[in-house]
Symmetry: C2
Subunit: 509 residues, 2 copies
């Protein structure tokens, strides 16, 4: 008997809308926000957000509050009775907002930007409203299929060939953890059932420049902090493939099981580029899983002039690219590509009865990672890629790279300032380095310059250490950043250098 | 020299708003959505969301699309040129929406609900707009401090004592992984540097009813699938503490290192309650880390009548509660509490130079988990707890439990139907079980009943297996669910039982 023959009612409509009282009037639900109130506050908040995005340049970039200030102004316990939205919104503006560091600010140059954009925010609104959990296909087919589609779009955009299967995780840390879990599963299959105790010690290779999440992942996977072996780097802090080969051979001779190598295209500290092609050769020769961390720089592969930095990455076993970093998608959205989805499946799939769904030929993303629950993160990425289009996205990326080149030129022309080279993408690493100042004083002076600029609230830069010395990182990646913001922040740095500054200040504003 | 003395400009205002052209007119940024367009579409989408939430009861609960249908209707590559929002929104409505399973639907009774609510959605809108990454305190002090505050609120709400430190993760799977990583770090300290190879095999204990994420976590941590030892259960599928003691003693004698026991309060399959107090005794006697999985049921601890189920959980080393499950907060939001934050820190902290921030006495949440990047997830929880208040939240939870009791009574009174007992929270497990039908036929009949109801779109239930036999799960947890929805879905199940159904159908609508 089919459903139609059984005389079932047509889908939907039977029980009344969620916001209406039930037809029999028996029991009004005690909870839920009345539709009129949601509508009113939705509009008020959209107006607030629109105004905020227009005015964000007038906020101090870095929050100026003391530790404990935000929390100290709020009640220690949840209110017993519900409060009107008016109170919430007032506290949001008067207590929360002063404690926000404005990642949307066009002069946010610290870390790497997580740069949102209008269509991404609107996508998030719809995701929150739909509130689906895309753990299995049928729990929302559109969420699963849009995840596959948008990651195929992104794969094509950055010029990767078909044959990479994508899943979205919250962060690159989790994506990388998943990739290395798959690598461990492939390299130490005997540990699958009995665990790593009794198996040979596994080893993962990366340079000291690699993101901190690699060591976190290696440790979490049970390989110990010794499970990550640092590989020597060349002058630009790029991995030395000869040193990699030597390390692997030494380890094999010493009884280690080499599992994976992590190559980074655009390291966090100085955006160094590990040579993917040469590393892929070593990986192939020694059976290593090659994971490429392009979390930040990945989108730049869509620019013809940048493709040289990515040569060979198409030979990787896994690649991570974060649309929430440099593709104008609100945090969180990290794309993990793997060549062999069976490897992720081997590491993470175990379907219990209550999640068996019966459909053939569909992907259940819960089988490709640690998390069962999954937000509909693809929707915002789909909005961003459609709204800007490939041309629009390339134009913004190219603009950021040009701004970085402009800044590099300004730094190079400024007496007493020094720049780390090369600077292939949109990060410029620089320091105030007047002649004759010894290293410890120079380090302290640069931290002071940074703190002075950041405290003033007009720009936000961060720092790193290279060979134990302090350098400042000026990372461009915000969708709203314009030349004036870069010039202004550069001027602020020069002014903050104080008495020792040279007269070469740009005069553009 | 202080900043004020240095003559720095006052914070902000210098560079102009993000949406305005720069004052010197030099280079309009190529990207970003114009403010007017954001405003227009924000309002349109709020109106759409408001209407959707009002009308969601008129949609089929379960998406009726065939695999590949959503994807097949969309372009295979990202558009080269940007598209107007009008096109995106049209496709969202005509292509994406039919592929959505409506978790907001008041007759969504499958799995456990991830039940959002108006204030939670509005909180998500603001989170997406602010788009901060709360990896370190200064990267947005309010995000870090609100995370601590709201988790303290939640801790107090469910009656846990002070001394539990909370962090928010995306899902319970990740929270549990973190808890077990901390347990491994404490139980196998020799593995910290050298890895698990060479260390004694570690063991984690849980019943076969435990959530699938426990085995995923144990496997990912390098303990192998044998690293999880199942503990026998009593008649209600609750862990037998005597069997736990026996298992631990056997393992110690055999050279295993017992690490942790996972007790669940409200298992996924039948909401069984492991006896936390008795298990805490065993854990204390054998030095096991006690992790409590209360991802679903945790909020019920706020109800005086439910507290007996939670007795002893305050002795745990870690507890997970998901506000995105049964506390009306949009996915994702999972609260992990640990008694000793140092244990998480030992497993996950390693601060590189570019993230050193210098503040004393503040928490950097990146040190308490795998992920470096972190969304501002606390804001929506703060909105939900303030808007409803403790009284309001208790009223909704109590209402759901009463609806479950109502349904249990209806099932018990219906000839030919059977109910799994006990049913302590808001899940009712039932099956059609007319006398004389052999088990295989009964299983097939119940799957057919489920599929018929789900295909009709008027309700969505899921199934589980108990001792290899099929039962249907009817989980109540949506903020909009009313008695009429429960009665309607129960009637649909009875009707779907077809020719064998008894005449005891309720007649309420």
């Amino acid at each position: 008997m089919t459903d139609r023959e059984s005389g079932d009612p047509p889908p939907g409509g039977e029980f009344g809308g969620a916001g209406e009282p039930p037809r029999d009037g028996s029991d009004p639900a005690p909870g839920g926000m009345p539709p009129g109130e949601f509508r009113e506050w939705g509009h008020r908040m959209v107006d607030w957000v629109a105004g905020y995005l227009e005015d964000v340049g007038s906020y101090p970039v870095l929050a100026g509050v003391e530790p404990g200030r935000v929390r100290g102004r709020l009640a220690a316990e949840a209110p017993v009775r519900g409060e009107p939205m008016e109170s919430l919104f007032r506290d949001f503006q008067s207590v929360v907002l002063p404690g926000i560091t404005h990642w949307n600010h066009p002069a946010f140059f610290a870390y790497f930007a997580v740069s949102g954009s209008g269509p991404g925010i609107l996508g998030e609104l719809l995701t929150a409203a739909l509130n689906v959990n895309a753990m299995v296909w049928k729990a929302s087919p559109a969420a699963t299929e849009l995840e596959q589609l948008t990651l195929d779009w992104l794969r094509g955009f950055v010029g990767l060939p078909p044959g990479f299967n994508g899943t979205i995780n919250d962060t690159a840390s989790i994506s990388t953890f998943h990739a290395l879990a798959a690598a461990r599963e492939r390299g130490l299959p005997e540990a699958r059932v009995r665990g790593l105790a009794g198996a040979p010690p596994g080893r993962v290779y990366a340079t000291a420049e690699t993101h901190s999440s690699i060591l976190k992942a290696v440790h979490a996977l049970g390989l110990g902090r010794d499970g990550l072996r640092p590989v020597a780097t060349g002058p630009e802090r790029e991995m030395d493939p000869v040193a990699l080969t030597r390390a692997v051979e030494e380890d094999v001779a010493a009884g280690f099981r080499p599992l994976a190598v992590v190559a980074t295209i655009g390291t966090t500290s100085v955006t160094a580029v590990d040579p993917a092609g040469a590393i892929a050769d070593v990986a192939a020769a020694h059976g290593l899983w090659l994971h490429i961390d392009a979390a930040y720089a990945g989108p730049a592969a869509a620019l013809p002039g940048m493709q040289g930095h990515f040569r060979g990455w198409e030979r990787a076993d896994s690649i991570v690219i974060n649309p929430h970093k440099w593709l104008f998608t609100p945090i969180d959205c990290s794309a993990l590509y793997v060549r062999d989805p069976g490897a992720l499946h081997a590491a993470f799939s175990l379907t219990p009865a209550y999640l068996e769904t019966g459909e053939e030929g569909v992907v259940h993303h819960m089988d490709q990672g640690l998390a069962l629950g999954r937000r509909f993160r693809a929707l915002k990425l789909w909005f961003v890629m459609r709204y800007f289009g490939q041309e629009g996205l390339r134009a913004i990326l190219q603009h950021h790279i040009e701004l970085a080149r402009l800044l590099a030129g300004l730094v190079d022309a400024a007496p007493g300032w020094e720049r780390w080279r090369p600077s292939p993408f949109s990060l410029v690493v620089l320091r105030h380095s007047p002649p004759g100042v010894p290293a410890p004083e120079r380090d302290a002076a640069n931290l002071a310059i940074m703190n002075r600029v950041n405290a003033a609230g007009t720009a936000f830069v961060s720092h790193t250490e290279i060979d134990g010395e302090v350098w400042l990182r000026f990372a461009i990646g915000n969708v709203h950043t314009m030349e004036a913001h870069v010039r202004g922040a550069w001027r602020a740095l020069q002014e903050a250098a104080g008495p020792t500054r040279n007269g070469a200040t740009e005069d553009v504003m």
